[in-house]
């Protein structure tokens, strides 16, 4: 299995280079496999409702909040090589050094990472990098959006990233289920709200995933902004918020705005 994974990763990387062909209107379909994706999504969502969500709720019931936060801190701390290597791979030495320092501080003063000492004591920034973002920085195309059974929304590039992150993650395999359940438990209110607020939960998840990844890839500064800190002074990232602004200021708009 261990030998198979790099081969699989290489294969997927090749897949990632296959950008979906533009449609008749010249636009790239953001979701060429929507029918299959919706099928896998229904499977994931169903499994979540009968298994993972109840497990998460149970975990919420039996653990106090500080335990869940502590565990989340610890698992995030164990992912430090993911962040450090991804920063190094993008030649962002400050970010790599910062994450290594955070790991040293949190593993010691922070008692095995349970307490985020780097933030609480020293206000160190935090860079939430992963190898999928590193590959994007290298210019690897994302490939088409796809929904993976059990794992959720992804694309070929992020799937390779997921596998690489798995190798770099220091979380011992016996603890991985705890990380999963704890994460699901923390997400209970978020998922509840998302299900209620979405008009079509699949479309909500797909768009949220695409937007969030785009933000993470474009972001060069720290993920957590320091208290009261002013923005990085970078140009605003390109977004299509105003793409259709002409309609917004159409005839219905009162003059003078």
């Amino acid at each position: 299995m261990k030998r198979l994974l790099p081969a699989a990763a290489a294969g997927l990387l090749a897949l990632g280079c296959l950008s979906p062909p533009p449609g008749p209107d010249g636009l790239v379909d953001p979701d060429p496999y929507e029918t299959q994706n919706r099928l896998f999504f229904a499977f994931n969502d169903g499994l979540d409702r009968i298994a993972f969500e109840p497990l998460g709720r149970l975990w919420r019931f039996v653990t106090p909040r500080f335990v869940r936060t502590g565990l989340d801190n610890a698992f995030l701390n164990l992912r430090f090589p993911v962040r450090a290597v991804s920063c190094l791979g993008q030649a962002r030495l400050g970010c790599a050094g910062n994450e290594t320092l955070r790991f040293a501080v949190n593993s010691t003063l922070g008692v095995a990472g349970l307490w985020d000492a780097s933030t609480r004591l020293f206000e160190l920034p935090f860079y939430d990098e992963d190898t999928g973002q590193m590959l994007a920085a290298w210019g690897v195309p994302s490939g088409p959006f796809w929904m993976i059974p059990l794992l959720g929304p992804s694309n070929p590039r992020d799937t390779v990233g997921y596998v690489l992150d798995g190798f770099l993650n220091l979380t011992p395999s016996y603890a991985a289920p705890v990380a999963w359940v704890n994460g699901r438990a923390i997400a209970v209110p978020t998922v509840d709200r998302a299900r209620e607020a979405s008009l079509d939960y699949y479309l909500f998840v797909r768009d949220a995933y695409l937007q969030r990844r785009e933000m993470q890839i474009e972001e060069r500064g720290p993920t957590r902004r320091l208290r009261g800190a002013e923005p990085d002074g970078e140009a605003p990232p390109a977004d299509d918020f105003y793409e259709l602004e002409e309609y917004e200021t159409g005839a219905a708009e009162p003059a003078g705005e």
Partner: protein
């Protein structure tokens, strides 16, 4: 003191004030980003004060938060931005219906999110100028998970007031998310189908909440 002397005194005070004003250096106009940031900051303080006031019954707190939100959210602009290329296709009646139902949907679901609030620290971080004179104000909320949740507000000045035209949670713009949802739903079910779905969602949620 006679009425006349009062008047004179008033005049003198007025003149003095005017003189002082003329002498005082005119304060530099605050940057729009700072203005918008201040609006978000005070509004969040107001909302948090209501949420922390657990002595009040939930219904009353909800009403108060809604009153604050309705003052600061520009639902017309949000609706137009969400429907974007579909907006011109809507009749005046459909537009009214959509704005009404969408506002109901947003305030209902937003309130449920706020109900989860458990005294976490909220920080207004910085502000960034966007195109069209808009400003994005960035804030974060301490969360149960390790890292705080990032919540940004895109603001637009309308009739001298800064209003919210988008909320961006963890990099996900509400406007763009609903835009991609509504585009596909309109493509499949038409505008009336979309409005009907919103209406159903609202009815279900309100029935649940009793």
């Amino acid at each position: 003191m006679t009425e006349r002397s009062l008047k004179l005194k008033g005049l003198a005070a007025g003149a003095l004030a005017a003189g002082l004003l003329a002498l005082a250096p005119t304060p530099a106009p605050a940057a729009p980003a700072d203005d918008a940031r201040a609006v978000v900051s005070t509004t969040l303080d107001q909302v948090l004060a209501v949420l922390r006031d657990k002595a009040k019954p939930p219904a009353e707190r909800k009403q108060r938060v809604e009153a604050i939100a309705y003052r600061h959210f520009d639902f017309d602009t949000i609706s137009r931005l969400v429907l974007a290329r579909n907006w011109p296709k809507l009749s005046a009646k459909q537009r009214d219906e959509f704005v009404t139902e969408f506002k109901r949907h947003l305030s209902g679901t937003y309130w449920k999110t706020l109900e989860d609030y458990r005294d976490q620290k909220v920080t207004v971080d910085g502000a960034r100028a966007e195109k069209k004179g808009d400003v994005t104000v960035r804030s974060s909320i301490d969360a149960e998970r390790a890292e705080p949740i990032r919540m940004d507000y895109r603001m637009r000045q309308k009739a001298g007031e800064w209003t919210v035209i988008d909320v961006i949670i963890e990099g996900v713009s509400l406007v763009q998310n609903f835009r991609s949802q509504t585009q596909e739903i309109i493509g499949d079910a038409g505008v009336d189908g979309l409005i009907e779905r919103l209406r159903q969602k609202n009815a279900e949620r309100e029935k649940e909440q009793g």
